[in-house]
């Protein structure tokens, strides 16, 4: 099974691929498109030259924004033959140590000097560099490298990278779900190939995508979505093969009650019907059309604006043509709606058995009604996990579940995480750490017991005094 040279093809960057740009700890998800400008760290980049290169290649950004594979990293560090001080008693912060001015540096940059050479110049022109301790010198160079090195690495997306990217760039879009918390969720919910998992998330599709990655295209994922249509921009960024999407289903939570009551009508009807239900669906279909664009990862705004102004050029179209277009659009809409109804019926069939294998909730909604509503679709002895940025709503869920029964192994947890600097004689925790990664409520469903025996341990709202007794119970 050893990989030989010829299966390198699977590791090559292709046009249309979803990739992640990386510099240091900064990530950005983009799609490789011909002659498309991408802004990364305040720089314009064209990714065309990356096509055909291998993933995980580091590229140099040339003037004009084109990429060129970075030559082997030169190991020669600029401080090879420099002496070092023993401590900082002679270092004075007078701002006069660096002889190069801003303008000098800009001039060097314009001359096309590479990062490595600029740093060399900075060191050479630093009056007291030799007085700095060895450690301080390394730190100085590291800092300057970050500032002047003009490279970008192109990575294949993964749940790890995207979770770290979202957490670092746009935590608000993913309800501040920290990556280690997401890791806990995927494990606590026992996500694996071949199962049937329900997902309710408003994390831009990150949670959904992570679950799909762990299922590897086997089994089914049902996205229970609020509002007009499912939000899945983040799923795109994973760049899944097409067959993964066949395992993805969606169901609007506004139909859950109807489904449970057995009154859900999934027959394809005339979209013009004055039915309230239909109207809602109509609206949903429309929204769905717009949503993927509006919610696109990264920087969709400039993008859509550009295309809009392009359209404006051909503004005076004849009325008849407009009408034709309208008709065609209506036709498309109708087909879309029919397709949607078909999908709704298929998903309803998947849910009807109430035999799902797992439930994952991570949203900005109050988790209590969501959890209680969706737990009904799980088989007994299956795990569920609920994320919330706040602990109080989960406390409420916890209490409710205790009251209702039907669950065991309830745990309300959060994780504490910190990173370390590991260097010879300089190992210590990093000075900054994340203050919190949100809270999780996890548990396992059990068969509900209709004939409640006398003296049941399934206590109602427990009095504080009975706490001890409570503790020993599932």
């Amino acid at each position: 099974m050893a990989d030989n040279g010829d299966d390198d093809n699977q590791y090559r960057i292709k046009e249309g691929d979803y990739v992640v740009l990386k510099r240091g700890e900064i990530f950005k998800a983009v799609q490789i498109q011909p002659r498309k400008k991408v802004i990364f760290e305040k720089q314009w980049i064209f990714l065309d030259n990356a096509v055909g290169q291998l993933y995980s290649t580091t590229f140099e950004i040339l003037s004009g924004g084109n990429l060129k594979p970075h030559e082997l990293k030169d190991s020669a560090s600029p401080l090879d033959a420099v002496e070092a001080g023993t401590d900082n008693r002679n270092i004075v912060d007078d701002g006069k140590s660096q002889k190069l001015t801003r303008d000098d540096i800009e001039a060097l940059k314009e001359k096309g000097l590479k990062g490595q050479d600029i740093i060399k110049k900075l060191v050479d022109n630093h009056a007291t560099f030799g007085d700095k301790t060895e450690y301080s010198q390394v730190k100085y160079i590291k800092k300057k490298k970050k500032k002047y090195e003009n490279t970008v690495m192109i990575l294949k997306p993964s749940c790890r990278i995207l979770a770290m990217m979202y957490h670092g760039r746009e935590p608000g879009k993913i309800c501040h779900l920290r990556y280690d918390t997401l890791a806990q969720m995927l494990t606590l919910a026992n996500i694996h190939a071949g199962s049937k998992v329900l997902v309710f998330e408003t994390c831009a599709g990150l949670v959904l995508g992570s679950i799909m990655e762990r299922m590897g295209g086997y089994g089914s994922v049902i996205q229970m979505y609020p509002g007009g249509g499912p939000v899945r921009a983040g799923v795109e960024s994973f760049g899944f093969p097409a067959h993964f999407h066949d395992t993805l289903h969606e169901f609007p939570i506004c139909h859950v009650n109807a489904l449970l009551a057995g009154t859900l009508d999934t027959s394809a009807k005339d979209p013009t019907a004055e039915n309230a239900d239909e109207k809602q669906l109509n609206l949903a279909a429309e929204k769905e059309q717009k949503q993927p664009e509006a919610e696109e990862q990264g920087t969709p705004e400039e993008e859509s604006m550009e295309t809009n102004t392009g359209d404006d050029a051909g503004q005076d179209v004849e009325k008849t043509e407009k009408d034709k277009l309208k008709e065609a659009k209506a036709q498309v809409k109708k087909l879309r709606l029919e397709e949607k109804q078909r999908r709704l019926a298929a998903t309803a069939a998947l849910l009807k058995g109430r035999n799902a294998d797992g439930l994952v909730i991570a949203s900005r909604f109050h988790p209590c009604p969501v959890l209680l509503g969706l737990l009904k679709f799980l088989s007994p002895s299956r795990p569920f996990v609920v994320y919330s940025q706040y602990i109080e709503p989960l406390v409420e869920c916890f209490k409710k579940l205790r009251e209702c029964g039907g669950t065991v192994n309830l745990r309300l947890t959060d994780t504490w995480m910190r990173h370390y600097q590991v260097l010879p004689d300089r190992t210590h925790p990093l000075l900054l750490m994340s203050g919190g990664g949100g809270y999780l409520l996890s548990g396992t469903t059990v068969a509900t017991d209709h004939s409640k025996p006398a003296g049941s341990k399934q206590a109602e709202e427990p009095a504080p005094k009975r706490q001890k007794l409570e503790d020993t119970e599932g």
Binding site: Q184, L188, N190, N409, R418, V422, A463, P464, E473
Partner: protein, 296 residues
């Protein structure tokens, strides 16, 4: 039943998990005619388990409990300890940071009690493979037996050898390598050999910072990139209802006479739902060092 596939009903030969209470979970090998003693009384497999639905309640003479379908997470809290084991919090983080998914080829050493192994197998099934190396012969045999009982043996190869001397027994196949051994720095070279030419991810788990230090140096020497060390801890919040008494400042002359009697009951208190953190909790498991092997 299998650790990588759910079933609905308990069958002869399954491994089921008896969920007795929050901190009392026991695995049981289901056998026609067998009996198991629990703290709630004896259960008879033929009548109490076989043919029942996973998640059902089993009533005994002294109480009742639920019988659950096994998962790697339940196994982690139920398994017989032959060594120190990895717990779910670390396992979850390792799984994500090693980028494990269906189809991944993984190398692991040592196998220990198999806590992490089961979680890896669950994630890489149905098309991945785990090569696990354990230098202790009895442990290697025992865990191989368990993999069979848990119906995941088709996904795993157990080797009884010393990873620091003999490596993983495979070359150029692994997407990810996990090390939980006393001297991981001695295995870093072997890890590199086992990994795919294109590259992959490595994790080393060590309780001591000195081990981390040496491992990081070895990783750097072997050309690994993106080396980072992290610690993850679980905090479990205990949900409870508490009642906080309100102090009595005596009658307030400013308030109207009518309000006074109602506002000053003798034992006024406020009841609220809140959480507390345990008085003591595991404060250290180990440092997790991750690295990326670049293309070689």
């Amino acid at each position: 039943m299998s650790f990588v596939e759910y079933s609905d009903f308990i069958q002869d030969g399954d491994v089921a998990i008896l969920y007795l209470s929050h901190n009392n979970v026991m695995p049981v090998k289901v056998q026609q005619g067998a009996q198991t003693q629990t703290r709630y009384g004896v259960i008879r497999h033929s009548t109490d388990l076989i043919g029942q639905r996973y998640g059902s309640k089993v009533t005994c003479s002294k109480g009742w409990f639920h019988v659950l379908h096994p998962t790697p997470e339940l196994w982690t809290v139920a398994l017989p300890h032959r060594t120190q084991i990895l717990y779910t919090t670390d396992i979850a983080f390792i799984t994500m940071m090693l980028e494990l998914k269906p189809g991944s080829i993984v190398c692991e050493s040592g196998t220990g009690s198999g806590s992490l192994s089961h979680a890896i197998l669950r994630t890489i099934a149905p098309t991945g493979h785990l090569h696990t190396v354990e230098f202790h012969q009895q442990r290697a045999e025992k865990v191989a037996e368990e993999f069979k009982e848990h119906r995941v043996d088709h996904l795993v190869t157990v080797r009884n050898q010393d990873v620091c001397k003999d490596g993983f027994g495979v070359t150029g196949v692994a997407d990810a390598v996990f090390l939980d051994i006393p001297s991981p720095w001695d295995a870093v070279g072997h890890a590199k050999v086992a990994m795919k030419k294109h590259g992959g991810r490595l994790c080393s788990f060590s309780p001591c910072i000195e081990q981390v230090q040496k491992t990081c140096e070895a990783l750097q020497d072997q050309g690994f990139e993106d080396i980072s060390t992290t610690e993850v801890l679980l905090r479990e919040h205990d949900v409870r209802t508490v009642s906080l008494p309100l102090p009595d400042f005596g009658p307030d002359p400013e308030t109207t006479e009518e309000a006074t009697p109602a506002a000053a009951p003798n034992h006024a208190s406020i009841t609220l739902k809140t959480t507390t953190l345990p008085r003591e909790m595991p404060g250290h498991t180990g440092y997790l060092t991750f690295a990326t092997k670049p293309r070689t």
